[in-house]
Amino acid sequence: MSAVAVQSSRPRRGVLASAWAFVKRHVLTVYSILFFAYLLLPIAVVVLFSFNNPPGKFNYVWHSFTWNNWRYWNGVPGIQSAIVLSLEIALVASLVATALGTMIALALVRYRFRTRATTNILIFLPLSTPEIVLGASLLTLFLHFAFVQFGYWTILIAHVMFCISFAVVTVKARLIGFDRHLEEAAMDLGANELKTFQKVTLPLITPAILAAFLLCFAISIDDFVVTYFVAGSSVTFPVYVWGAARIGAPAQVNVIGTAIFVIAITLALANVLLQSRRAKGA
């Protein structure tokens, strides 16, 4: 009797044990999937509500599907000029910040100068300061000079300032792993410094410069806090969203958000695919 019971319970315990083993093996996977769902949920909401046709001012509750928000993406006053200003500033600020950042990175890695350590700290400071303090300090500085007109130029200066650090860090990482012998070889072959820089150094660090530029662009176009402090009456896209949020953001805000997301994620995906293909090739 007891032998039978033991025998019959053995396979059951086996099932339980294997079920437990299955859970144990996959608990991390299941958890991670939940984590990604949580991470992506708000994005799904943004995309979904860009197709909403809200009955009133508030785009909080799903009502009915419409393409109109996409067709009339600039149908709300002010949104188009805000986007244009954001793009303009992001473009110019990233160009300037990347150029300056690349030069600073070159100087930091290549030369030992007296202020080198200080410069390193100065680069790191904006990265570790809360944005609100950056914005506030820029505001007080600009207020000091009565002739400063708040608007395009103040925003631009602010964006260049906080983008530089990111550009320097990105380019520096590439320069540290850079083989100086290549430059020496070019010089041995009769190239002057300028030519060496053009033909050897620049092509080798171009990927990092490009990455720095894209990073700056992304940070600049997304920045709200610092911009809000120094914008005066100018309105960038995030500032527009902030203003709109107080009276109920129109669905067009979701449209632009979705569009930015799609463009960025496409670029990033292309990059990932390119890298994995290159890795496969090598």
Binding site: L122, I132, L138, M161, V225, V241
Partner: protein, 269 residues
């Protein structure tokens, strides 16, 4: 020549930009060592200060606990999907910060499905709400800075050599012990970097408190923001910014002292 220009232009451009940065000590319209600004700032707004540190601290801890297993999973089980999964982690960054937070406002709104479900299972009372509570603010901050935590964790876990863990197990450590004695200490630089990257911006944040909270949940960022831009109390707001900076620096210093400066500088570079 080019090098020379770089040499001269760079530090000069630098000074110019850095001077932009530290234009903070503007004690009104005459410089009078007005320390009073500081004492008023602290005595009037100490609750907001404490709340900022509390919310930021909570968000940091939650983000750490939530994202550690995922970083572990990607690092050790991700295989050839690693890059794609990392892309998913940073995907929220591709949506404008404010829009992301507005999406949470939609999700947590009084008629949204989250509130209704919680009401149905009686976690919330029938008139309970999530919006305009501290929970919503902490949740929003946690969400917005989650990638800052997950990425450094992933980077440091990725560098852990799986053979070390095998070696620990060969030496009769069970899985838990191997994790506690090998994996966790080796991933500490990532933990340090992640907590700093999350805590510092979180402590100065005011967007989540504004959009997801109510005036009872306002953080010091809200106070600084409104003093600067609404009431034009520049001196008080500047003092508060400095107190915030100092508080953060002090916390970072204590933190560095506890975990050891080596990890801190190691992760900073």
């Amino acid at each position: 020549m080019l090098w020379l220009t770089i040499f001269f232009v760079v530090p000069l451009g630098f000074l110019a930009y850095q001077s932009l940065e530290s234009g903070n000590i503007d004690f009104g319209y005459a410089f009078t060592w007005a320390w009073g600004n500081y004492s008023t700032a602290i005595s009037n707004y100490h609750s907001e200060f404490l709340r900022s540190l509390e919310y930021a601290g909570m968000a940091t801890v939650i983000a750490l606990v939530v994202s550690y297993p995922v970083a572990y999973w990607i690092a050790f089980r991700g295989g050839r999907w690693k890059n794609l999964l990392l892309l998913f982690i940073i995907a929220p960054f591709f949506v404008t910060y404010l829009i992301r937070t507005l999406a949470w406002e939609t999700i947590l709104s009084d008629h949204g499905f989250v509130v209704r479900t919680l009401q149905d299972i009686h976690v919330l009372g029938s008139s309970g709400r999530l919006l305009a509570t501290g929970t919503a603010v902490v949740a929003g901050i946690t969400y917005n800075f989650l990638p800052f935590m997950a990425l450094p964790l992933y980077v440091s876990l990725e560098q852990v050599d799986p053979r070390l863990i095998e070696a620990a197990e060969d030496l009769y450590a069970n899985k838990l012990r191997a994790f506690l004695k090998v994996t966790l200490p080796l991933s500490l630089p990532g933990v340090v970097a992640g907590t700093l990257l999350t805590f510092i911006p979180a402590a100065g944040d005011f967007i989540n408190a504004q959009l997801l909270g109510s005036p009872q949940n306002y953080m010091i960022g809200n106070v600084i923001q409104s003093h600067f831009l609404v009431t034009s109390d520049y001196t008080g707001a500047a003092a508060m910014s400095f107190v915030l900076m100092a508080a953060i620096l002090a916390i970072v210093a204590v933190y560095a002292f506890v975990v050891g400066t080596e990890e801190l500088t190691g992760s900073a570079v």
